[in-house]
């Protein structure tokens, strides 16, 4: 589940964000408690708590005192917006750079994307 590339609490936060984006976690759903999470993934509870706190600070989760943590109503829309903003910088630009390095003409790339668009069922 975890790798060495970033702190575990960061990876926890990302995993929960992905669950919200995919719809596995819906608005107002309760998320696992820090202790459940720590036990399940065999990690220190303070480390797990840091991941959850990061999500509370970002407004993705909110706390109900004495009950637990829940997905904020606007979390999914906000996360989608963030990912959309990052999409071109994170995905498209590196793809174009790689295509240039290995000598694939951009026209070929565009052609492929256009073909994929044709098969889209929308």
């Amino acid at each position: 589940m975890f790798d060495e590339r970033s702190p575990i609490y960061h990876q926890i936060a990302e995993a929960i964000k992905n669950d919200i984006l995919s719809g596995e976690l819906q608005a107002e759903d309760q998320v696992m408690s820090t202790n459940q999470y720590a036990a399940h993934f065999r990690i220190n509870p303070a480390t797990a708590a840091k991941g959850f706190q990061q999500l509370v600070d970002e407004g993705v989760l909110y706390k109900k005192r004495g009950i637990g943590m829940f997905v904020s109503p606007g979390a999914r829309a906000a996360l989608l917006e963030q990912r959309r903003q990052r999409f071109f910088a994170d995905v498209v630009e590196p793809m174009v750079a790689e295509a240039r390095v290995i000598g694939i003409p951009l026209d070929d790339v565009v052609e492929r994307i256009t073909a994929m668009k044709g098969s889209e069922n929308v």
């Binding site: 702190p7 065999r42 990690i43 220190n44 509870p45």
Partner: protein, 291 residues
Amino acid sequence: MTLGIDVQGLTVRYGDVTAIDDLSVSLAGGKIYGLLGRNGSGKTTLMSSIAAFMRVEHGQVLVGGQQPYENPAITEQVYLIRESGDFADQESVRGQLRRTKRFRPQWDGEFAERLLELFQVPDRRTVSRLSRGQRSALGITLGLAARAPVTMLDESYLGMDAPTRYAFYDILLEDYMQHPRTFIISTHLIEEVSRLFEEVVILDRGRLIAHEETETLRMKGAAVTGPASVVERFTDGMTVLSERRLGGTKSVTVLGEMGERQRDVAQAHGLELEPVGLQDLFVHLTKEGPA
């Protein structure tokens, strides 16, 4: 109840060997600490000083603000489980439990039974007839069931096989969350247990070389790989832990967190940046000198 530990200027010598060399470290109560170091780095000596197995002659060790040596109010709160287990070999497992219960005010008998069953330790057997793994499991059982506010495990679970160790990690976390206390765990199995540690303390030849949150330390090392001259320019001024060269390619392991700007620079110059991992970082930090 949790108890913190404060060590100031501790020096311990055995004859002309210096086991602990002017060590100062402060451990807040209620956390799980990993104590890492090579053989002979002073881990056991440090834990023995905290557990009042020996008198502190140079410097100071305080547990919950008090000196532990010949101080029963503190020593009953501090429990060090050594690899040997310190058992009375001719006694039965059950007798061992009874004896420990007498000295441990927070002893939980039901929890002890549950642990014996979990680890499958035959409770009527004489300690001398236990296997190595069973001895380890008995040590862990006593150490956890005592619920001492400061519990130190010195390689206590080395004799356990992998499935038993994972069962131990699970029960350790569960019990720690229900009964928060200070744990100090020394280990060579860094990859396996480091995620249980909130903070890590690294000793080398009796000196403190790192005390950090585990996740902070984990991010501190980076391996930079690429054309030798580019790597050299990039790592100029950084703390270099090791270098390797293969033809025109060089790989340098450096200490220090890579910021976003440095990542961008590395990428722009075609350098590869890779995390090092806690175990490799530990190896690099402690590798000089004989074992």
